[in-house]
Symmetry: D2
Subunit: 280 residues, 4 copies
């Protein structure tokens, strides 16, 4: 039976890598439907993403690739199927709602297995879509304790591919993040690294900028400093106070988050040196 796989490879760069990889594909009789490579010459790193199909044994292909590629090559053969994602949100509905609508329209290669929020505000919206909504209030709790409860809820969901912070307005500790390395996607409401931290629209207003933006990034130990996946901006002007900026910014936030999420779901992102290589 014909199998479809995405093959993601990153390793030390050396001469002949494309030849060796494409030879393996050829020897296995594969159709290569899409091929993207990138060499970071400065750091001597090679990245490749291929979409292949054929009647073949994926494990044998993986073994063959390990044989011909440099030691410690990172090789992933991924069968396209809906990834299991959990959304986290606080009170704002624009990003969450946008993902729910895309999910409903089968735009996303994902199954939303649940939504976790520190408020009840969004329950009504989420439950319209028959998706479990778990309220984990942070009130009266230490941060560690709150996160512990969230982790307990997350565990109940079983396997999770990605956690999407769809305007989840609390800071996650390095301890929490460590459980989901390169698997938490956040939307920050500024074009990072401008306006790191709280209320970027207020900061933008105070500074008098003429553009505002949004940044989707993986979350790592340092707040707002994880690898950037996608960014976009909109022009603004002096007539807009920070609330008008925030309202205008919502359209950018939701489009940027959705773009980043799609890239992740379609296995188009490599993370390297706190940056991303994206084959979009």
């Amino acid at each position: 039976m014909t199998k479809y796989y995405r093959v993601l490879i990153d390793c030390k760069d050396e001469k002949g890598l494309v030849y060796k990889i494409s030879k393996a594909f050829y020897d296995f009789g594969l159709n290569v439907e899409n091929n993207r490579e990138f060499v970071d010459a400065q750091n001597g790193k090679f990245f490749m993403r291929s979409e292949v199909s054929g009647k073949f044994d994926p494990l044998a292909l993986e073994a063959e690739l390990h044989l011909v590629l440099p030691a410690r090559a990172n090789i992933r053969l991924i069968e396209p199927k809906p990834k299991r994602i959990v959304l986290m949100a606080t009170k704002e509905s624009h990003c969450l709602g946008d993902i729910l609508i895309r999910h409903e329209a089968n735009e996303l290669e994902a199954e939303i297995i649940g939504v976790i929020s520190n408020y009840e505000t969004l329950r009504n919206l989420v439950e319209k879509f028959e998706i479990p909504y778990v309220h984990v209030s942070h009130e009266g709790l230490q941060r560690a304790e709150h996160e512990e409860r969230i982790l307990t809820e997350l565990e109940k969901f079983g396997h999770i591919d990605y956690i999407v912070l769809a305007k989840y307005m609390r800071i996650l500790t390095p301890e929490f993040v460590a459980h989901f390395d390169e698997r938490i996607i956040n939307i920050h409401h500024s074009f990072l690294p401008a306006f790191i931290g709280a209320n970027p629209y207020k900061q933008a207003y105070d500074r008098g900028v003429k553009i505002i933006g949004a940044t989707a990034h993986f979350v790592n130990n340092n707040l707002d400093e994880g690898p950037i996946i996608a960014q976009d901006i909109i022009p603004i002007n002096h007539t807009m106070d920070w609330k008008a900026m925030r309202n205008a910014g919502r359209d950018v936030e939701k489009v940027v988050l959705a773009k980043a999420l799609k890239l992740a779901l379609e296995d188009k992102i490599f993370v390297y040196a706190n940056k991303t290589v994206i084959f979009d």
Copy 2:
């Protein structure tokens, strides 16, 4: 004889300002060809820019406006004519060349009365356009001494409306800037406030952003912190090292600087609270 004037007013906001101003225009028999107002409700400030024409005495109009407007109103009646500008540059030609070409095509309401540079590099280009090129080397000089020499050269030019830093890569001291309050326009090669300081493209590369930009701003005492006039961005990707970003960024830099310069030349900018109100 019909006169054309730009009337720029900013003052404390109060009820009836538009009525009082438009009454004055009406009483003086003026045609109002363009009218823009903005009230910063939060700070109780009123801004208005009108283009008027008619057979009238500008001084009498100014006096009348002072009579009807709140005390300490800032009223400027400006007759449109080419402003006298000096360009300062270092070694890169893209912004300078772009302004020279626009000047040559009469796109700018300006007369370029000279170019000052700390290198000889751009002399050949500038002199093609029969514009005086003054080389003021900084080598072996203290910053204050260097700026003193520049000031001496600037004085020789006579009246100067604006100084345009077209990729002038040296920091100006508050003492220098104080001579030209809100009259020095700089192009910074990042979307401020991201990547303040040296080599923003290197910083952008290191941070792994997906957009780069440029910011034109008035220069004040604090480097890169003056009022922003115009900003724009371009998308970038992982294949670009910082030199590729710098090259791509040049097109944004020159367009943003030209845009800001035109706004200044056409008296469309109010500066207030370290921000700009722009009637474009």
Copy 3:
């Protein structure tokens, strides 16, 4: 009691209009919170939109304005309140879903009083939000007959301010459109006037363009030729077939339609000479 009104005026241009209008506002003791004017000098037309507040009699103000303005001035005093809108759609959910989510989040100054579709496809989505969904199939019907049935359903809704065609994929006859002059907003999936007519993404693919876009416009007698309210684009490339373009285009479509809808709901659009004057 303090009243808030939007005052929209368009009339033949003549000297002193701003003075006369602002005098009326002043005489009525109004606060003018926002003021936008535009003179189309070529056609001798004047447009003004003001947001005023105060303790006043709107009918008296309207009468006063008619007294001081040129004959046949079009004067509208509009009290801000949610407008009653009906959405029409066919099978695609992205625009419809986006409006539903915005509505749910109180982003829109509108009440969605119903959705009409020629298919059952979107019923499930719409009814999640407790909004009436009316299926008016076109199968086996003449166009006139189908529209007659839609009109009957629309009448049942009572007063309707705007009809929003959120990817309603059937052509409306001039007879239908005549019932809702300048009150039907459509989203066309190209940057008009490029790719008028059926399947613009297919046309765009065949032509090999490097940008695709979307256009929100009022519907008039001629398909795709009504006054344009808003447009935007996204870059595309050779790797995208027309289905990929269509998918990418959805994000532009929904943002452009929402933008146009908000402008209409906030009474920021004048229609004139098959164009729009927009005070955004």
Copy 4:
């Protein structure tokens, strides 16, 4: 001695092409510094562009590639060196000036060997840069006769890689174009296919669009219908008459034309089915 080459291949798609090509590169001991492929699955076409270096015999490599690739494969080995270009213009200087400045700054992989114009207007600008300016007036001439004279002048320049129409405002006949197949680059001042033909800004104004743009394309037999290389847009609004649009559009025109020219000079464009495949 190490040689640097760009290898451009397009041929019928079949299994194993990347393998065969990369094997040839490997067998010749080449470093592959950059690799881009694209398969047009619908049309069964394969495109690849590689940047290779090494001590090798280009003719032998070309022969080897012909051996392993499908019959009638189009294989080009191009040594990077400045291409010889001729600019043609009429009266407007913004595109021409922009290219002259870029040329002066060594931004372009090109040598401008001359400028041809049907007016004298731009002579002064061009000669500043010590570039030959040839005036070929069209006055009193039949189109064929005028083009004959231009051809005569072009022949005097010797080998020409590209002709760049930098706002050359006359239509070229198919007979003229046939001499320079896929070697004439034009800038059209609209986002094609909108506003084909004369005065697109006037057309845009009349239609009331909210964006205007520019399109760089190869010239073929049908005016404005050649393969599109690059496009971009800027937002506009109701305050702009067509002259204001034209002025604003100039910045887009020059940036888009420069972008297209760079892609051509760096051999990054394949033309196919009246479209372009671009490896930027």
